[in-house]
């Protein structure tokens, strides 16, 4: 019997290759202090930030390492933190009181609406948690949206890192504004601060657009509703990816802003403003419905959109700015990216110190580093320039206004200035922010759950030249109007009763499917 010697040689060769190509590790971890960081950021950001932070701390005579923890994307991280804190607090409660935490206590201890007064278990648990140093053996949360960070801060999982006191210049005149274009850039209680800035736009494949007879690159969100793009628009599911929901919110905010202006900008909270907001919201929903009618898919991964547009699997898509910029650099002329003028705010991507951090001193040092010129340069400078990234150009926009001074322009990868872009768009948190989750629900039932029927309706309308009755039926968004969203959907979602939520979902999906089917029928009858 032959011995499998050639096989062993082949196996050995295969295993040797990665060892042979392994880069030498310039800095050893032996004896280093460790800061534990929970993050959805990718390997490129982790690599450059590790390198920069080590050097930053070495200059201060300390040897550090970052223990990155990545249990998934922003959604998985939020769930992970919620369940870990619950478990840790249950242990703390049991030790302190000698009895297990009740269901109402478990719901109340992270509920920002929970009153601190009274002797109910929920109030006691909330008070106890906020006064405690219950932790999950992680120091810093790094990356996500300001919405997620606000949720964690409200729950009490993030604590004041003390930066506003120790580094007041960062937050004073010339520093980072508290809000830009209506978007919060740092938490007034110091529990999180933006580390970088991003907005939303359209990535497009020039060759795919040309093939479809579209020669002008997209400029506005409405371009994505062009019937020639039917089946060629890549979209992310807003109920899975927070960034996608934010992008849809931008469409609604733009439409609401235009409606308010067209009504002569009536006073806030007036009846006239309310009517204008309803009108704008519904116009925005109609546009979203048309864009969704062109969708190739609704993916659960926001990054897939850019990658599929690049390969031509889709002709255009909605994406976060740095995906678009980075990918267009990687593939050259084929891929373009545009931020619709007046169509997107520039939001912060924050960092914050977690409650019960084992090494709060190192956590604070990391936050300081990320906000320092050295850290901000890593986000935005070209690869290889002094103070820039070593291996990956991150193509992110720094949050420090100072870095947009002319002397840094030649170092930065991108000329965009979020503080200037923000001038053309004001985010009105009061209009849609309280409805953020309700928006994802509405878009899901309207576009994702009824996807097939919506596509059939859109195609039928196209085939028959948008007959008037069919068009009117298609544009009727009364099932999910601003009033319905505010008064019915949002309260149902915040009731914490999943059965109420699902009953609403089932009713709306059935009604919307029936609506789209009737559109198809009317269109085919030429009505």
């Amino acid at each position: 019997m032959k011995r499998p010697l050639p096989g062993f040689i082949a196996l050995a060769a295969l295993l040797i290759v990665p060892f042979a190509l392994r880069p030498p590790d310039a800095l050893s971890d032996v004896g280093a202090e460790t800061v534990v960081v929970l993050t959805p950021h990718n390997e490129a950001i982790r690599y450059e930030m590790t390198r920069g932070f080590r050097r930053f701390m070495a200059e201060r005579g300390r040897k550090v390492r970052i223990d990155w923890r990545s249990p998934g994307g922003t959604t998985e991280i939020s769930r992970y933190l919620a369940s870990e804190y619950r478990s840790a607090f249950e242990q703390h409660w049991l030790k302190r009181t000698g009895r297990p935490l009740s269901e109402s206590g478990a719901r109340g201890f992270t509920d920002p609406k929970q009153s601190l007064d009274g002797e109910t278990e929920a109030a006691l648990a909330r008070r106890d948690f906020l006064a405690s140093s219950v932790g999950v053996r992680i120091d810093v949360l790094f990356g996500g949206g300001s919405y997620d960070f606000s949720q964690h801060a409200g729950a009490g999982r993030l604590v004041d890192a003390g930066l506003r006191a120790s580094r007041p210049e960062l937050f004073g005149p010339g520093g980072i504004p508290q809000t830009v274009g209506g978007e919060p850039y740092w938490d007034k209680q110091g529990r999180w601060v933006g580390a970088t800035v991003s907005g939303f736009g359209i990535c497009y494949n020039r060759r795919a657009l040309a093939r479809l007879g579209i020669t002008r690159p997209p400029e506005q969100w409405a371009t994505l509703a062009d019937p020639r793009l039917s089946g060629h628009v890549a979209l992310a599911d807003p109920s899975k990816a927070g960034s996608a929901n934010k992008a849809f919110e931008m469409i609604l905010q733009q439409a609401m802003g235009e409606a308010v202006r067209s009504h002569g900008s009536p006073p806030a909270a007036s009846q006239a403003e309310s009517a204008a907001l309803s009108e704008g919201f519904e116009a925005g929903l109609r546009l979203i419905r048309k864009i969704a009618g062109n969708a190739r898919y609704f993916t659960d991964q926001a990054s897939k959109v850019t990658l599929d547009v690049q390969t031509g699997a889709a002709a255009a898509g909605m994406c976060i700015d740095f995906y678009g910029r980075f990918q267009s650099e990687a593939v050259g002329d084929r891929l373009g990216f545009v931020m619709p003028r007046g169509g997107s705010s520039m939001g912060a991507d924050p960092i914050g110190l977690l409650r019960g951090a084992p090494r709060p001193d190192l956590g604070r040092a990391l936050i300081e580093f990320v906000l320092s010129p050295a850290g901000q340069g890593l986000w935005s400078y070209r690869r290889g320039v002094p103070g820039g990234p070593e291996r990956y150009a991150l193509r992110r926009l720094p949050i420090l206004p100072a870095l947009y001074a002319p002397e840094y322009a030649k170092l930065r990868s991108d000329p965009d200035n979020p503080y200037r872009s923000a001038e053309s768009f004001t985010y009105h948190a009061a209009w849609t922010a309280p409805l953020f989750r309700a928006l994802s629900f509405v878009i899901r039932v309207m576009c994702v759950d009824a996807e097939t029927e919506l596509h059939e309706a859109t195609r039928a309308l196209e085939r028959h030249g948008w007959p008037p009755r069919a068009r009117a039926r298609f544009e009727d968004v009364s099932l999910v109007s601003y009033t319905v969203v505010k008064d019915e959907i949002a309260p149902a979602l915040s009731s914490g009763d999943p059965l109420r939520e699902v009953a609403l979902q089932n009713r709306l999906v059935r009604a919307l499917k029936a609506q789209y089917e009737s559109v198809t029928e009317l269109a085919e009858q030429g009505q």
């Binding site: 994307g73 998985e76 478990s87 089946g231």
Partner: protein, 567 residues
């Protein structure tokens, strides 16, 4: 039977049940608890009931069932003739072509997806080829993965899974007693009649075991529908439901319903299997020689094998081309080639430790699968231990449990203050990853081991007992050597699939130092820019490593116990 002899199986049963209960049922129940607890913390069945009132979920069930039926029929249509051709005929190129059979199992699912998109997307190679011969208009190319989504899912699932049937059937065919077929021939039973009346019935346990696996796997397959953006199937609804921004208890209700359906289907298949007793015709002493297929029939066999194997290897080939391309857009082949992606991917600091970790986790999990799979199979087939049938049915459940559900369950049981706190994956995920991989791949080893035990003639074991050999000695010297090829066939599947396991790895391996290779590939794929190319390059390396490992293992096994797939 004396007390000691009765105690042995009972103890073994208890041990298997304990391991399975602690590392599978407990985390599963922890994870599913949300489906049965209402807002006030009381038990409720409302979430499960609500699943049946949701039109989108109902459509998902219907589509999943259709995909499973279609994929199983197609996999059988490909796998059965292919196994017969390879096992019964000697034809030009047989040895070389046979090496290609397991290739579809060696490609990491999400990396395979990247390759297939480059083939079947609107700007992919297939459309470019059609346009080159005038069969497609380059201005309006067909989007194969979108327009024919259902059929694309069925075809890709069948092509991915037919090796499961091929290997199980090959092992059964090779271990059949050739004298029975010769006897049939002397009685005038030839050709298709012999195949239908003798050959296939003799292989029935393996055939039905693998068809059951394929059916259940297709029913719960996630990678292929995700690749085709086919969201209206239950598996994708569960996967995306777990990622809902708000907590969604209905997704756990959906998992519960899918689990019950799986157990029901499995129970039905067991009832069918019970009627099949093929042991009389197996494990003969005579070795079968392949019939020489000469001339046209030989080349027809080569052509058929080549056609099936090349269709099934499309993901592998496309990933190889993608990883080696500098640009591949609207052309049949890449317009430029480079090795730079391999250098960047393999030279990444994350990769070397991840290879070592993967080999460590997977070797341990495969060993655990072999021990546990054989032990459960032995208890089920050879003993009358009470509850053995339930254990057997439960051990199939991992096929229908999404990895993410189980991973969250493991996190729940290893939190601070819980009994398994010492296994906290944030500190070191080794134990949990090993048991997670082992539990998810246990059905493969178990089914192979059971099929092997069913095909051993009990008379051989009884002869050993009558000669005075105690039961452990019979097990060690008679049963185990006879069932070894089946066990190793299942073990190789478990090894290959665990090396490519994604969901447990993503959640449980949290520190970079603990990443297995799949998480390293995933991390690289997330890099905007060249990420997909680096992932493809590392995917190619993993494919070659797996193929070489399986090849070496088969040669080693062949020298000791006979080829697990040829015997």
């Amino acid at each position: 039977m004396n007390t000691r002899q009765r105690l042995g199986p009972s103890l073994l049963f208890a041990l298997c049940a304990l391991i399975f209960g602690v590392f599978f049922l407990w985390p599963l129940l922890e994870s599913l608890r949300g489906a049965f607890v209402d807002k006030q913390g009381n038990f409720t069945f409302a979430y499960v009931r609500a699943v049946f009132e949701n039109p989108v979920y109902l459509l998902g069930f219907r589509n999943s069932l259709l995909v499973a039926i279609g994929s199983t029929i197609l996999a059988a249509a490909l796998g059965i003739p292919l196994a017969l051709v390879f096992q019964r005929l000697e034809f030009p190129g047989r040895r070389w072509l046979e090496v290609l059979v397991p290739l579809p199992l060696f490609v990491p699912p999400f990396v395979g997806a990247l390759g297939v998109q480059r083939l079947l997307g609107p700007t992919g190679a297939f459309n470019a080829a059609l346009a080159a011969v005038g069969l497609s208009d380059p201005a309006s190319p067909m989007d194969w993965l979108r327009e024919g989504r259902f059929w694309a899912v069925v075809a890709l699932t069948a092509l991915h899974l037919y090796p499961v049937l091929y290997f199980n059937l090959s092992a059964a065919l090779a271990s059949q007693n050739p004298e029975l077929e010769r006897a049939a021939e002397t009685l005038g039973c030839h050709g298709l009649r012999k195949l239908w009346r003798v050959t296939l019935p003799l292989s029935a346990p393996s055939l039905f075991a693998s068809l059951t696996i394929i059916f259940i796997w297709s029913l719960t397959e996630l990678g292929v529908p995700l690749l085709c953006d086919y969201g209206r199937v239950t598996s994708v609804q569960i996967f995306t439901g777990l990622k809902d921004i708000g907590q969604n208890p209905f997704v756990y209700g959906l998992v519960t319903v899918a689990l019950v359906a799986t157990v029901g289907l499995y129970g039905a298949s067991r009832l069918l299997l019970r009627k099949l007793d093929a042991s009389a015709g197996t494990k003969g002493s005579a070795r079968r020689e392949r019939r020489q297929a000469r001339g046209l029939s030989g080349w027809a066999a080569t052509g058929f094998a080549l056609l099936v194997l090349s269709a099934a290897a499309l993901p592998n080939v496309s990933v190889l081309l993608l990883a080696s391309s500098s640009d591949w857009y609207e052309s049949v082949l890449p317009t430029g080639f480079t090795l730079e992606h391999y250098r960047s991917a393999l030279g990444h600091s994350m990769v070397v430790p991840s290879i070592a970790q993967s080999l460590r986790y997977v070797s341990l999990s495969t060993a655990l699968d072999l021990v546990l799979g054989f032990a459960i199979a032995w208890v089920v087939v050879r003993t009358n231990a009470r509850g053995r049938k339930l254990l057997d049915a439960l051990a199939m459940l991992p096929l229908s449990v999404p990895g993410l559900v189980l991973a969250f369950g493991y996190l729940a049981i290893s939190r601070e203050g819980r009994p398994l706190e010492a296994l906290d994956p944030a500190r070191d995920p080794t134990v949990l990853l090993v048991v997670a991989y082992a539990m998810r791949r246990l059905p493969f080893v178990l089914r192979s081991a059971e099929a092997g035990l069913l095909q051993i003639n009990k008379n051989v074991e009884e002869a050993a007992v009558s000669l005075g050999a105690p039961p452990p000695r019979v097990l060690w010297r008679v049963t185990l050597p006879l069932v070894l090829p089946h066990l190793l066939a299942g073990g190789l599947f478990a090894f290959a699939l665990s090396m490519l396991e994604v969901s447990d790895s993503l959640i449980l391996a949290q520190q970079q130092a603990h990443y297995p290779i799949t998480k390293a590939i995933y991390e690289l794929s997330q890099l905007v820019g060249e990420g997909r190319l680096l992932a493809a390059a590392l995917g190619v390396w993993a494919m070659v490593l797996l193929a070489t490992t399986v090849w070496v293992a088969r040669r080693l096994v062949r020298s000791n116990a006979g080829d697990p797939f040829e015997a």
